[in-house]
Amino acid sequence: MLEVQGLRKVYKSAGRSGRSGQREVEALRDLTFTVDTGELVCLVGPSGCGKTTLLRCIAGLLEPSGGKVSLDGREVNGPSPGLAMVFQEYGRSLFPWMSVRDNVELPLRQKKLPRERRVELVEQALEAVGLAGTESAFPWQLSGGMQQRVAIARAVAYEPSTLLMDEPFAAVDAQTRADLEDLVRALWQRLGVTVLFITHDIDEAVYLGQRVVMLSSSPTVVQDEVTVDLPADRDQLHTRADPRFTALRTHVYEQIQAAKLGAVSQAAPRS
């Protein structure tokens, strides 16, 4: 279970005028939401809403200024072995000097797993993402979609309780994207992991999630939350044509628009 309570993050940048010139930028104001064990929650927000900051706080890569994040009941204050992350920039997140196998295996070696177990996990993970047979290739020899599959395999092999995905399909083409969305849902159903999926794509959020959390513009709060009451078995063709799907996406769209407008009306008096 992932709990985010009153999360706040303020960046301080030293101004030129020394003592008095400290400029503060409030990225996250007050964020509270929960992802239950085994749940798949999508997070959407207008661009520039502090998604990356939020994600880095959850992953333990960034210290929050206030509030706290807990994972499975324990407060996060550094990268946790219970959490695996899939980054948006697969090309920069996979290590180009390692083969596909070594990329997936490296975190397992850090976990000090015995060799046989590592081999087994790597094999299963690559099999699960449909990449069996590419073990000895370098990641850059594969297509973009396949590279992101390697990154997903690396996360899955890590055996996390929670999977954090940061706009993982923003950089792949539409068809590959549809395949990868189905892959994520299939893996989630099979492995029973908790998934927090961050995206800027409203359709994707509604298609994937059991719940969609909408964020406001920066400084960020939770704008709204909606439960996606679509059947658990989803497919690209029928789910997306479902009137309920359309109604949900309209709702999310309106909320995101409202969030953007809110930001404008908030900013206007100041300037």
């Binding site: 290590f95 180009p96 000097w97 490296l106 850090q110 976990k111």
Partner: protein
């Protein structure tokens, strides 16, 4: 086959030109190439290779390896720590600006005229390109790669060995390549000052005893040695950095 022709084409032409132009040379200091080549076989016998070339090579390799290890180790430390960088960088710039040959007499005072002195001179000259390139390479490691390493609990020595060093390796290799040619130059120079054997020493001996064709043959040998070493380096680099060259050819093609 075609590549081989490209590689060998110009050297063959140059040698042929030298051969033809120098053929009737009466100049004592620029004897015909035919005489130089003739003396080459006579001069560089197995005994002499053992007595002079091997010691030179040993100093070269010892100095080069030492400089590489020191340069990479210090470079990683300086590249990773901002505080260390701010403290050390001005001093490094100063030391780097000193031409190493100037230091030969000074180093001789401390380290004598043995192998130690020559190795120190080589190290002092070679360490800078390695060090500075390593610092730059380490500083330029992709932040997403570092985040990935942290998120997956890859820290400490594993982070340096598995992520930082490989990520910086193309830049480190560029430094090592520069250092190799500096090492050869300094090997010869250090042997010219004070030595009892070695390639540089032998060439100077020939010159002083007016054995001009032999002197020229030594220079040719030096050139061949440098060529062979850089060829070896390129082969090794091509193997170690095959991922980098592959990656580059892929991203260029897109």
């Amino acid at each position: 086959m075609k590549r081989l022709a490209y590689v060998l084409g110009l050297p063959v032409v140059l040698f042929a030109a030298w051969f033809v132009i120098s053929a009737g040379s009466e100049n004592f200091y620029a004897p015909p190439l035919s005489r130089i080549l003739e003396s080459f076989g006579r001069t560089w016998t197995l005994d002499r290779l053992q007595a002079d070339v091997l010691p030179s090579l040993w100093r070269l390799i010892a100095g080069y390896v030492l400089a590489s290890v020191i340069g990479v180790a210090l470079g990683v430390a300086i590249g990773l720590s901002r505080g260390l960088r701010a403290t050390v960088e001005p001093v490094l710039e100063f030391f780097r600006a000193i031409p190493p040959p100037v230091l030969v007499p000074v180093i001789m005072l401390f380290a004598g005229i043995g192998d130690g002195m020559k190795i120190i001179v080589i190290v002092f000259g070679c360490v800078w390109p390695v060090l500075l390139n390593t610092v730059e390479g380490v500083r330029a490691v992709d932040s997403v790669q570092l985040d990935t390493a942290r998120a997956y609990g890859i820290g400490g020595p594993a982070r340096i060995r598995q992520v930082v060093l490989p990520a910086a390796s193309p830049q480190i290799a560029a430094g090592l390549r520069q250092a190799l040619s500096i090492a050869i130059i300094l090997m010869v120079i250090s042997e010219m000052f004070a030595a009892s054997n070695g390639l540089g020493f032998t060439i100077v001996q020939f010159q002083r005893s007016f054995a001009i064709p032999e002197m020229w043959s030594g220079i040719i040998l030096l050139g061949l040695l440098g060529f062979a070493l850089s060829l070896l380096f390129r082969l090794a680099e091509g193997w170690v950095l095959r991922w980098y060259h592959g990656l580059r050819s892929v991203t260029k093609g897109r």
